[in-house]
Amino acid sequence: MSFTRRETLLMAMGTAFAAVVPFKAFADVDGDIAAFTGGAEIGTGGITLIAPEIAENGNTVPIEVDAPGAVSIIVLATGNPTPAVGTFNFGPLAGAQRASTRIRLAGTQDVLAIAKMPDGSFVQATQEVKVTIGGCGG
């Protein structure tokens, strides 16, 4: 077989990270982003956001964010009345630039994580988390 598995994976990952869904953000979101980045351009790649596609319980949704080398990472629940979830700051001795927590989501929305890298650049990852009524499994 001639296709490599590695290429397939990289392609799939590229799509996942590039697909930044335009969200109906509360005004706060733009403000929070601007406050964190100072209006700098935000790239992709180098940051991983792990969140469930569909929340088992919207009141406590486990998320994990990982951005190797980052100085700090801000997490925003873009559809919440108060979008700011938190900012994780990593000191120079931090073993890993990774954090996990549980957040409450008011409804289906994008969760957004932006990392500030040591060179002053910013990267982001986002994932839609569905909060559903549920109830009709096959």
Binding site: R6, A12, E53, E56, I133, G135, C136, G137, G138
Partner: protein, 567 residues
């Protein structure tokens, strides 16, 4: 190097051996005469490893009729792709002759007529015969059960799954994963699993409190077969606490968790696995998507969405095998594994024609032993179908079984509108056939059966419809839960499947008045299978039994109240 063509040595068991019977030539097709067990099981053993896959049996120990779906719409990248083709398109895609055994087994058309000729399918005693035959050719074949096994019948409910466990143990599976099993409650599941003589797997079964892998289920198990180190990784149904009542198994969390799947694949490869098999209850489209993201899986044995496919689907280097439901099919996959990699495969979807494949007497005895204490309840006839009515469930939008259940809910619970869950299990009943209590339980049995009656605003009803529609028609498979659309009685609607959530469902109409649903007005809605704890009401089987008994002979008119756009 082998070519892709050599690689795809799949065949449809029945269509390959029986010629055209001529469309409409179904007076008496005499399946028994034209088909033999040897033909169904004919298979030239290949390579050095055999996998046997059964899935979504839903506690159907005895042969049943099961009509495959007429409507099974794919969205986004899966539009028009298998398994989202049905009927004549399906037969054309796989070269299946009209009127042939495979036509009957795999497609919906002329089901009632063909069923008269070909008879019931499935039965675990027949499956046992097939498994034994494969093991005769390949003694160390792996038997893998994709789950939804300990759910779905009267006896399974009464024995909390024990009847099915006893029967399946006779078949000696090597590993299993899970979905509806968890609706037995987590205590009962742990109780059974702790005594299980085979591996209970699920890399995505997590401890809900700590969000760490559960200690009750292993992510994978190693087997050494035919000199090959095989790792079987389990993938339980990802949306358990959403699609089913999470309060019944609060200790567990699920999800697709494909990053961890990748970690597990890398881990087993690192430990020397030459063949990596994923025993999955993701659902077919989710498996396809996962196969594109996770590298290093050779074979995905797919379940949940009840698709029966005569050939595996190839995604990258991964083959995905789908083996149907309700005991209708067994998949055999022979693999040639050399130099630490899969070099080729041969596959056969074996249809279990119950009149053709001899039952295994030992297993028959065990099945009958489980049923004996309930014989009187099981066999009681509660009504019959009219000559114009086939009762079936599968299909994206409605099935006559659910139309009947909704009508029973409206009349017995004095409701304006009825809702029935879009589950995919539940055998069919032919026209003019007696309906026994067992038949009714086969389409209603569950541990949260209460038929509620509650007031809902038109706006809330619309929200429910949109929510469920998005679980089915979201373009990203990872957001699909794998069921069908909620069935509705007393209300018509229009659905444009290509619209985003909130815009798909429109023209909600109360059928009894012909008026549009008022978002602000309150309606009485009866339904069942609510995932909410403390739901009150009589069990659905009592509601429907009362209705059928009163009707005597049930006739269900074709459902014309759902208008589908964009398919």
């Amino acid at each position: 190097m082998i070519s892709r063509r050599d690689f795809l040595q799949a065949s449809v068991a029945a269509s390959a051996i029986v010629g055209a019977s001529g469309f409409g030539n179904w007076g008496k097709l005499a399946a028994q005469q034209s088909l033999t067990q040897d033909q169904l099981l004919d298979f030239e053993t290949f390579g050095n490893v055999s996998l046997i896959h059964v899935t979504d049996i839903h506690a159907q120990m005895k042969p049943i009729y099961f009509r495959e779906p007429e409507v099974n719409i794919g969205v986004g990248g899966n539009k028009g792709a298998v398994p989202h083709i049905t009927g004549a398109d399906f037969r054309k895609a796989y070269g299946i002759d009209d009127g042939s055994p495979s036509h009957y087994a795999l497609t919906y058309n002329d089901f009632s007529a063909l069923a008269q000729g070909y008879g019931k399918m499935g039965g675990m005693d027949r499956v046992a015969t097939v498994v034994n035959q494969i093991r005769a050719a390949r003694p160390d074949a792996l038997l893998l059960d994709g789950g939804d096994t300990w759910h779905g019948s009267y006896t399974c409910y009464q024995t909390e799954g024990q009847d099915v466990v006893n029967v399946m143990n006779m078949l000696k599976p090597d590993a299993m994963t899970f979905h509806w099993e968890f609706t037995l409650g987590s205590d009962r599941v742990r109780d059974i699993v702790s005594d299980l003589p085979f591996a209970a797997l699920g890399q995505n079964i997590f401890d809900a409190e700590w969000d760490e892998p559960s200690e009750d289920f292993k992510p994978y198990k190693f087997f050494e077969r035919g000199g090959v180190k095989i790792a079987v990784i389990g993938q339980a149904f990802p949306y358990m606490p959403i699609a089913n009542p999470g309060w019944m198994f609060p200790e567990y969390s699920f999800g697709i968790r494909d990053q961890r799947m990748q970690e597990m694949v890398d881990e087993v490869r690192g430990m020397g696995a030459e063949l990596v098999v994923c025993l999955s209850h993701n659902g077919f489209d989710v498996d396809k998507a996962m196969a594109g993201r996770v590298t290093g899986i050779d074979v995905i044995l797919a379940g949940h969405t009840h698709d029966a496919l005569p050939e595996p689907v190839l995604i990258g280097d991964t083959i995905i095998v789908a083996s149907g439901s309700n005991g209708k099919f067994v998949s055999r996959v022979d693999l040639d594994v050399r130099d630490g990699r899969m070099m080729g495969f041969r596959h056969k979807l074996i249809p279990i024609f119950s009149d053709v494949i001899a039952p295994d007497a030992e297993v028959t005895a065990v099945i009958d032993e489980q049923r004996a204490p309930f014989a009187a309840e099981l066999t009681e006839v509660i009504g019959k179908t009219a000559d114009d009515t086939l009762l079936y469930r599968r299909g994206n939008f409605n099935g006559s079984w659910d139309d009947l259940i909704c009508q029973a809910l409206i009349e017995e619970r004095d409701a304006d509108i009825a809702m029935s869950p879009g589950v995919r299990w539940g055998p069919s009943i032919l026209p003019g056939q007696d309906i026994t209590r067992e038949d009714l339980w086969n389409v209603t049995s569950m541990t949260y059966p209460n038929a509620y009656r509650s007031e809902m605003t038109g706006e809330f009803i619309h929200a429910i419809m949109e929510d469920v529609a998005d679980n089915l028609f979201n373009e990203d498979p990872y957001y699909q839960q794998g069921g069908d659309m909620v069935r509705v009685g007393g209300m018509g609607y229009r659905i444009d499947i290509n619209k985003p959530i909130g815009e798909r469902v429109s023209e909600l109409t109360l059928l009894k008045t012909g008026e549009a649903l008022d978002p602000a007005k309150t309606y009485f809605v009866a339904g069942w299978a609510s995932v909410n704890e403390g739901t009150e009401g009589p069990p659905i089987w009592d509601v429907v039994e009362n209705y059928i008994k009163r009707e005597g002979t049930v006739s269900v008119a074709p459902n014309t109240s759902v208008q589908v756009v964009g398919a």
